[in-house]
């Protein structure tokens, strides 16, 4: 449980300390990549809680989604159509759905644990 959080903290501090700045032109790509990363992350947590988690799907999904989103944004810029909005919409909707499912599973687990402790006593 603590190891992934430690990883997050390590990543954040490394990023802040490195003082790397992405040029303004590539800002859209970075934003969409972050959204894609969040989508995969919450998808992974959901899959784990539903006990259908697969390592390969998780890792490949993470990188593939980021690349796909960045590619969409790139093509959109060159075609003059804001295609990245499609990615923002898709990831946004999935993000909300995944978080909702995670919340329900955690709530169900919590209420189940409470019931068990009540029957034991």
């Amino acid at each position: 449980m603590w190891l992934p959080l430690l990883g997050l903290l390590l990543g954040v501090s490394l990023g802040l300390l490195s003082d790397i700045q992405i040029p303004q032109v590539y800002n859209n790509y970075l934003t969409i990549a972050i959204l894609a990363a969040f989508d995969t992350l919450f998808g992974g947590i959901r899959a784990y809680l539903q006990q259908v988690y697969d390592d390969r799907i998780f890792v490949s999904g993470f990188f593939f989604n980021i690349l796909l989103a960045a590619a969409l944004a790139f093509i959109g810029v060159h075609l003059g159509v804001d295609l990245y909005l499609a990615a923002v919409f898709a990831f946004g909707v999935r993000l909300f759905q995944n978080i909702a499912v995670i919340r329900r599973i955690l709530l169900a687990k919590w209420t189940g644990r409470n019931k068990n402790s009540d029957t034991n006593t």
Binding site: G15, L16, L30
Partner: protein
């Protein structure tokens, strides 16, 4: 969670954290590109230096007043205080001022008189524009048709009449007096007024501006209307 899965989650979260931090860095530290050329920078530097010198002068003046307070015995302190009060009154435009300046006569144009046009009061927008032109140079003081224009004065059109701080300005002809801090500043303003389009703007309203040559002594009346003090409070020493 299996150990292997743990490590994968850790790695992915590490990447996410890193990218998030990059985005944070980019959003918070991106400064707009400086596209000024050498001359633009020099101009800015010169205006900053001017402000610096003005501030230094102001500090010097305040230091002198402070030194006068400290050096004077109890009996003399009242005089110094009175001097400061007079200085503040003068600065605020409540005392008559004499200095180098010139007089501008605002009169109806000969054509409008010949053609029998109705002479209307000067519009408030035009007068405000004129005052802005004069105030481009610092330290100038104005009197419009015998009404002293202070920093607290306002110009409004009330029922078709031009007013300065609530007092009606008569229909042209009337005089505007301008006093500058020095003869050089007065001449500079005089030349500036001759070269700007302000005369053309007045002519469009059938008025002509006759600007007299700068002289050494022009006297402005003090503002007699009083002032409303809303923000300053008396300091009591405990």
């Amino acid at each position: 969670m299996k150990q292997k899965t743990h490590w994968k989650f850790t790695l992915i979260l590490g990447i996410v954290g890193f990218v998030l931090a990059l985005q944070y860095n980019t959003m918070n530290t991106t400064s707009p590109r400086d596209t000024r050329d050498l001359w633009a920078i020099r101009k800015e530097l010169s205006s900053e230096k001017k402000i610096h010198s003005e501030l230094l002068e102001e500090i010097r003046g305040i230091d002198q007043t402070l030194a006068a307070y400290n050096a004077s015995p109890e009996a003399n302190a009242a005089n110094v205080l009175q001097d400061t009060l007079d200085k503040l009154y003068k600065q605020a435009g409540f005392m008559p001022t004499t200095g180098p300046g010139f007089v501008i006569e605002v009169a109806p144009s000969p054509e409008s008189i010949a053609l029998g046009y109705e002479i209307k009061p000067v519009s408030s927008e035009l007068l405000a524009w004129f005052i802005n032109v004069v105030n481009q140079q610092q330290g100038n003081e104005l009197e419009i048709d015998g009404k002293r224009f202070t920093t607290l004065s306002w110009i409004r059109d009330i029922n078709g009449n031009l007013t300065v701080s609530g007092e009606v300005v008569s229909t042209p002809p009337f005089n505007i007096k301008v006093v500058s801090p020095s003869k050089e500043a007065s001449e500079e303003l005089y030349n500036q007024l001759l070269t700007t389009t302000i005369q053309d703007e007045f002519y469009l309203d059938d008025l002509i501006l006759t600007i007299s040559e700068p002289t050494d002594r022009i006297t402005l009346q003090g503002w007699t209307g009083g002032f409303e003090n809303r923000f300053l409070k008396e300091q009591t020493k405990e």
